[in-house]
Point group: C2
Chain length 137, copies 2
Amino acid sequence: MNAAELLSHHHLKKSSARISIIRALQELETPASEPEISNKMGIHYDRTTFYRSIQTMVEAGLIRKIVVDKLVVRYALRDKPDHAHFYCDNCQQLTCLEDIHPGPYRLPAGFQTRESDVIIRGLCNSCSNHLPIETIH
Amino acid sequence: MNAAELLSHHHLKKSSARISIIRALQELETPASEPEISNKMGIHYDRTTFYRSIQTMVEAGLIRKIVVDKLVVRYALRDKPDHAHFYCDNCQQLTCLEDIHPGPYRLPAGFQTRESDVIIRGLCNSCSNHLPIETIH
DNA sequence: TTCTTGGTGCAACATTGTTGCATTTGATAC
DNA sequence: GTATCAAATGCAACAATGTTGCACCAAGAA
Ligand SMILES: [Mn+2]
Ligand SMILES: [Mn+2]
Ligand SMILES: [Zn+2]
Ligand SMILES: [Zn+2]
């Protein structure tokens, strides 16, 4: 599904910023940070517009915002069912754990879930294999 | 358990900053942000020292850092078993869901979990009762 | 083509966390 | 108690990320 189709699917106007953000995310194929996305978007990039566009698309459900930790925020197209994410403390790579689905959670009476996040931090397979234990503090 | 005992329990030096952070968290009784904690700490507050002290105590396992979203970070004493947290999009209150425990998760081979977070966002019981539906956008 | 709503670009600002370095303090040994 | 030394603190400067106000522009509908 291309950028224009995704936008009309979510009842959003087509606009240059939105289209280039979506294309950047499609090329990157993995959840990406603002700097990573802006690199793909080339010149004529405005940070304010980025944040406003991202927010619109997040609220529309087109894009997923994954907050691993303060200073570690990644964005991804919401093209797969919700799933947990693994963040490697060593190599900073974010891995989609598409087999781990959040919830459903049994909440106290009256609480309404809008969205849930599962973030697992640790060492990824590559780092736990290649790293001598002493260097992991 | 008082502040000094908690520190020695975790093999950390007693220091004025650490003690007053712990006391603030004990008084607040709920996960609190840096501004909330610093208010409780009164005058003679230094933000750099706060962040260095918090980091030390988080790494020692004395304090839990709960990242709800960028610009929404809360800290709490790690005095209960790990549990999920509910963040109300309307009133911004963070509720401990002590009955919901994260994981254990079955990860791909080689992945090692160090810590996991479950954040559920939506409307709390108070807000879903009192709020007319139209005002929830 | 015109109209209108909403998107964009820019400047200024806000919040939260970090780094370097000189000074002070807590814990231990004497 | 006093000396010692590593570690904690305080301050200034900086960095990263997101927000707000406002003038201008562009997409989509009439
Ligand atoms: Mn994912
Ligand atoms: Mn809690
Ligand atoms: Zn890794
Ligand atoms: Zn609420």
